[in-house]
Amino acid sequence: MRVPLKISLLKEFIKRSSIGCFLFFITLGAKAQKPETHFNGFGHLDFSYQPADSSNSSFSLGEHDFFITSKLNKNISFLGEYVFRYNPGSATTFLPSIERSLVKINYTGNHSVIAGKIHTPVNYWNDVYHHGRLFFPTIDRPIAFSYLIPLHTLGVQLQGQNLGKLNWGYDVFTGNGISSNDAGKKGMNFSWGTSIHFKPNDYTRIGASFYSDFISNNRAGVHSGHNSNPSHYTGPLYNKKVDFKLACLSIAHFGNRYELLSESSFNTTRTDSLGVAQNFSSFLYTGYVINEKHTPYLLVDYLKVDKKDLYTYPLELLKTGLGYKYEFNHLILVKSQVEYLFELHDHKDHGAHNNLLFKLQLAYGF
């Protein structure tokens, strides 16, 4: 009986303290000011063609993203990102979701505290591109986003940016992690993480991060691209606790002539059944900017999930691609990509197999 009582008191304390802190910050230095609100929209239309199986070739309507920013007073701003995306469970096959919804309080200099649903700043891609295909250098996210990367966190974040001559930045965050949804979670264990980066010049950013979560029943909620019922695995599903750790390294350079993005992740999952599994992913993009309209590019994307892994389950994928980006202006572009996906693990249906794909994407914003 004592333990639940303590937990409920602690929860009440956290709840009241959070409300108190929030109201304090809201009134701190707040001078009545008309909110300045901006609305943007982003969307994309895709086409894919698979020569080996033309029945898989089609046009598809991508995510449609409604983006709002509002300056609430001189130090406080709001950012919201609401996405309509394909969901086979819906009658219209599209459902809305809240991808980001946060209040940012700039308490001093370039230091801020953020509360709400954020894109977990574990790597450059997740921290910069979010759901805007208009900004993606390639058609798709790196493969690791569907398996290892905790896309969102619902909680609080401390952020610093452009500090010192090297433009250092930091993020420290904690919140509901992988197994939770936007309404909450069970238990008192929170995910946490920290990341650091610096920008040696206006076009380059180098960063590293660490993330930790304790997934009590090995179920992914809405904050991960991971699916709890993976299509590549046929064995019995593990439903006990998983200790999840992730370290990432990002190197990004987007200059006037050359573009490079390297995203590497090292992930361990510890289970009582099979012990520690070590997983690895690496994504490399290089682009040559002929001029501001034309950018041909190359990509290599690799993911290896250990045979002992019971969270993602064993998997090995390699994608190589060649693409071309044409920008009409900063609000609309077309990307074309020829890619070859090597499924190096045994596939559920067919055994190991490879896919040649041709993809087109029209991405826009307004």
Binding site: T69, N106, N110, D127, V128, L134, N167, I290, G365
Partner: protein, 154 residues
């Protein structure tokens, strides 16, 4: 026939790409002396060229006097836009707009104010403490409060 057609298409593509490349290279590079920087209660009286670039790339959320930083830039309709984009961002107007769209989408900066004329920029900076803007030297008029001018040093 088919081969000739493809050759012709390839030639047109190379001509188009190289043509737009030369067009970009032909633009004259503006220098600091072409511009006047104006600020209202931003806590600085002078700034170096590199410091200016950092400011207009959103390095500061607030000034040393705690005023919130407001960036004011020429919009596409403003005749100064191309020169400002090339001077501060080493790119075109589209490149400058793309940079800011991306910054705002990341949630790391507040959206700048893009204004259609240098007169509007002068007026906006005058009315908004914390605002910093850039105009062409040719646009300086008697409407500009001399106390708002920020000196550009080398």
């Amino acid at each position: 026939m088919g081969f000739k057609k493809w050759n012709r298409l390839l030639f047109l593509l190379v001509w188009y790409i190289s043509g737009s490349f030369h067009k970009a290279a032909a633009q004259q590079t503006p220098v600091a002396q072409d511009f006047v920087v104006i600020g209202n209660d931003i806590g600085i009286k002078s700034v170096s060229s590199s410091g200016l670039t950092s400011i207009f790339r959103g390095k500061y959320s607030s000034w040393s006097n705690s005023q919130s930083a407001i960036i004011v830039l020429p919009s596409k309709k403003n005749p100064s836009a191309g020169l400002v984009a090339l001077f501060l961002y080493k790119t075109s107007i589209t490149g400058m707009q793309k940079f800011w769209l991306s910054q705002v989408f990341q949630g790391r900066s507040n959206a700048p104010s893009f204004l259609d004329s240098d007169e509007e920029i002068i007026d906006y900076v005058e009315k908004n403490p914390g605002a910093i803007g850039i105009i062409r030297k040719a646009s300086v008029s008697s409407k500009l409060n001399p106390n708002r001018i920020i000196l550009i040093t080398n």
